[in-house]
Symmetry: C3
């Protein structure tokens, strides 16, 4: 294996965004330790307060299954991760990464195809969430896993 | 040389985005092995089907020359690469990276300069493409090169 | 310490974006060598010309204090760093990274709370700046520090 620990940690964060964007409960749960927690914070304007808390791998998978709506037709989401700051101390590590989530919705191809002269990507890409992902990771027998994830939202969140 | 293989691979992907954003056919071709391929996929909503295929370094350079319009005045594009997942196996490697392409168009400075009180960047930045870049790389005598690039678009593509 | 030089350099760039987004003059100044410079360039359409120059750590902190307006209520900025190309030569290094700055402004929670059925993040996220950060770094007794930062803007800048 030729990857450094720091790259293994970033790969893990990459898999987290894939599970999120694919709305894949099992892939998401598998990234966490059995006793892991997720804390969702409101960090509008800087200060942070707790909005919700998940405890345990099963609850994390269930939250993806129940709280994240499946993508509509021709729709997708994309996490943009940026400027991670990594700290590693033996078998423990943290990342402080900026995230943004974009909503991607493709136009429907017209029955007669695109009009003449239409060129390039057809649809809308809109940033809908921004903040920090702050995972704490632990080295396990199967490699690095997330033991605690803190999600700090920079926009106020409404819950229906 | 103090860079790890994983960083050399990410630098290579960085040069790919520069060649794309600069519309530079020769810089682009130089990043690929002579027998390299590019596959452009429609991955709207998740499943992928082939839209087009380029074969060989010369065809890759030619595609940049002929298919990518030069930037208009005060215009630029920027690739945002995010959350790469890297795998290395000896002299072969793959990256699965999310990309977004933004169109950047600057406002024209008025003949009499900006009106009093105008402050900051003047123009528009709009996300126009999103998806995954999935290069396969090979270690060559000159360093890592891309042997196959798979571009998966999350928005439907029209071709004029 | 288990981080590679390349990761220490990227962490440093991560701290630069945090100091920028937090409007923190002291945190910003601390990332630079005492004799460091910042050059702000207009690179609209590709070619670059000098807009402004800061010299010395004190001037850099002062510029953050005086030129960057504090965030309004419920507002934040986020630097998106992408596709860095890193070169290291002993105790000197350079990064060429793409950046975008997004303005994030949260909606105000209505007096009676969000209307029924409101779900998700409430507010606007808008890209306002784009270009390249091109820091030169030097290894010091306290670790890597920025000795020169070149900021290349792809949109024309107005200065009030």
């Amino acid at each position: 294996m030729s990857l450094t620990d720091e790259r293994a940690l970033l790969n893990l964060l990459g898999h987290y965004t894939r599970a999120h964007d694919h709305r894949d409960p099992d892939a998401m749960a598998a990234l966490f330790t059995p006793d892991a927690t997720i804390e969702i914070m409101d960090a509008v304007g800087g200060a942070a307060c707790l909005l919700g808390r998940l405890e345990g791998r099963a609850a994390i998978g269930e939250a993806v299954r129940q709280m994240m709506a499946p993508h509509e037709a021709r729709a997708w989401s994309q996490n943009v991760i940026s400027a991670p700051i990594i700290a590693i101390d033996g078998d423990h590590a943290t990342i402080d990464a900026q995230f943004m989530v974009f909503s991607i919705v493709g136009d429907e191809v017209p029955d007669n195809g695109w009009p003449a002269g239409t060129f390039g990507a057809q649809g809308r890409i809109i940033p809908i969430e921004a903040g920090q992902y702050r995972p704490t990771m632990r080295r396990t027998a199967e490699g690095w896993a997330i033991s605690a994830m803190r999600i700090e939202h920079r926009l106020p969140m409404a819950f229906g």
